[in-house]
Amino acid sequence: MSAVAVPQGPRPRSLSIGRLSVYGFLIVVALCFLVPLWVMIATSFKTMDEIRLGHVLAWPASFTIEPWLKAWSSACTGLACDGVKIGFWNSVRILIPSVIASIAIGSLTGYAMTFYRVRGARTLFVILLLGAFIPYQVFLYPLVRMFSSIGLYDSLTGIVVVHVVFGLPLMTLLFRNYYGALPIELFNAARVDGAGFLAILRHVILPMSSPILIVATILQVTGIWNDFILGLTFAGRSNRPMTVLLNNIVNSTQGEAAYNVDMAATIITALVPLAVYFFSGRWFVRGIAAGAVKG
């Protein structure tokens, strides 16, 4: 006598070959990302004596936070031995105004291009996008000359302006696509209700923009934090961002390379983007999906 399963309630899930191969693939990919991360974390807590043994994957035998302290406040970059601390605060000072300004301007241009069919907006947009595809290196020298002639070179304002300008194509594209999917009648209704350009943006459009604002923030925070070449070129000696300092620390060690300090400094530098992804991953995916699907 066999028990016949009567179909009712949720359908039983079976482990198919398709499902197995998906899991297999995901595990392999996850390992590709996790193993290097593990090596970095483990090494940063090891003493140099232990590192010399060469067991890169091993758990730290004599656990030490010495390399972290050193990386933060006393690792040497050439002559100065202040760690990445100064660079961290420089990066923060560059990051905050750049992110705010680039998102504010990007949402404004995206909004204007979507709802106010400004004469020549399409052409302008295409030019803006072309700009996004030209490698930065091409712009560097002319920009340096332009900036030094107006006194912006080697300054915090200078690097912020550069970040805003280079972020503009992507920000505009992002906001324009998102706004393009909103029903135009909403905008029309607000126009009939008597609202002007900024009032519509503020009261109607921005309240509906949280997904895309989150995506834009994530993109800009990670992009600007990870920037190296623009910071190196435009920020000047006193505003050099963390990435530049990290590079100097890793490259300027005399004698034996202090791998543990290098690893710790690298992790500290990567901490901000990591935290952003960690805390906003769900929002990020949701925002991208909301941008792609209408409504």
């Binding site: 909403l186 029309n188 609202a195 309240p207 509906m208």
Partner: protein, 360 residues
């Protein structure tokens, strides 16, 4: 309150021309209903009047001012959108008050006007909700309320009652009519519902393919349709069309058709006809059952369908090889399959030129 005047307007969307040389005069305080099949340009016309769509040619005047190039907010119009277009992040109350808040109306007055609209539209229990938490009909009422609170000289309503149940629709129809009588705003109102059109309008503009077919009082639209299109579009069930040929008959005319002939001597021609192919339309309510009196043309037929509609019943039979509908009292004893005699009230019929479709 303002008159609206659309003068020789051309509207193009991309390469598609929706209107050419379109003109429509709406008097101050008049209630005009735009009626026409889907896609004939009713919403487009409202958008053009509101200033949401640039016209390619011509002028639009509101309240004695040329507003062709004016921004929507400078035109003094309130609009109910066909798609509602409520602000998704605002509560019902905020949706209703948005226009007033933008206009910096005093708080107390905003509260009073919102409360009045909410009462009339039965929105009071919903004021805290977001549009996503409303049913289609509730959203539509919010959309109406949003226009009403602003109390503009000109209201543009795009099918404002299309999504409501029959009872609420009747109630709101009466409310809108009362409101219009009270405030005297100029009203341009799009609907697919003939009852709404006939009951609300001072004048109805029947449109087709971006062209006004007839612009007249509900009575005239119904009683003297200007062409075959209007005749067929207005009335439910539709007018019965009898094809034939007009031939002289003594001092008058008669229509010779596939099943015989109809004496047209009692029909008031707009101008002396030339004769030839013609179509005579008779409304289902202008056909009577029974043996024809001497001065009327009659016919016989078998009842093929009986549609009881409560107070009245629609009988389907055939005449001259085509189906014909007859409206009779709901108490009528006629049953399916009965042989009936019927006759036409020619004085209330409409005759059209078979070629041009124009009323004769």
């Amino acid at each position: 309150m303002s008159a609206v005047s659309v003068r020789d307007v051309g509207v193009r969307i991309g390469a598609v021309s929706i209107f050419e040389n379109f003109s429509l005069e709406i008097k101050e305080g008049e209630f005009v209903v735009l009626l026409g099949p889907s896609g004939c340009g009713k919403s487009t016309l409202l958008n053009a009047i509101a200033g949401l769509l640039d016209v390619a040619e011509g002028q639009i005047w509101i309240g004695g001012k040329n507003v062709t190039w004016a921004e929507p907010r400078d035109r003094g119009v309130g609009m109910v959108f066909q798609s509602y277009s409520l602000y998704p992040r605002m509560s019902v109350e905020e949706n209703l008050s948005f226009g007033l808040r933008i206009a910096k109306t005093p708080k107390a007055e905003i509260a009073a006007r919102v409360a009045k609209a909410a009462r009339m539209l039965q929105l009071e229990p919903l004021l805290r909700r977001k549009p996503a938490e409303l049913s289609g009909g509730q959203r539509q009422r919010v959309a109406i309320g949003r226009a009403l609170v602003r109390n503009c000289p000109v209201f543009l309503f795009d099918e404002p009652l299309s999504n409501l149940d029959a009872q609420l629709r009747n109630e709101l129809r009466v409310e809108i009519k009362k409101l219009h009588q009270e405030l005297g705003n100029t009203m341009i109102y799009v609907t697919h519902d003939q009852v709404e059109a006939l009951t609300l309008a001072d004048r109805i503009a029947v449109m087709k393919g971006g062209v006004v077919q007839q612009y007249a009082s509900p009575y005239d639209i119904h009683r003297h349709p200007a062409n075959l299109f209007v005749a067929g579009f207005i009335g439910s069930p539709a007018m019965n069309m009898i094809e034939g040929s007009l031939v002289p008959n003594g001092p008058g005319w008669r229509l010779d058709h596939a099943g015989g002939s109809i004496d047209m001597s009692r029909y008031a021609f707009a101008a002396p006809p030339a004769g030839g192919p013609a179509i005579v339309g008779v409304r289902p309510e202008n056909i009577a059952i029974g043996v024809a009196p001497a001065e009327r043309s009659g016919a016989q037929g078998r009842v093929t369908i009986v549609e009881p509609m409560g107070g009245e019943t629609i009988l389907w039979t055939s005449f001259a090889g085509k189906p014909m509908t007859i409206r009779v009292d709901g108490e009528s004893p006629v049953r399916l399959g009965d042989e009936i005699s019927f006759h036409f009230d020619v004085a209330r019929a409409s005759a059209f030129d078979a070629q041009t479709g124009r009323r004769l």
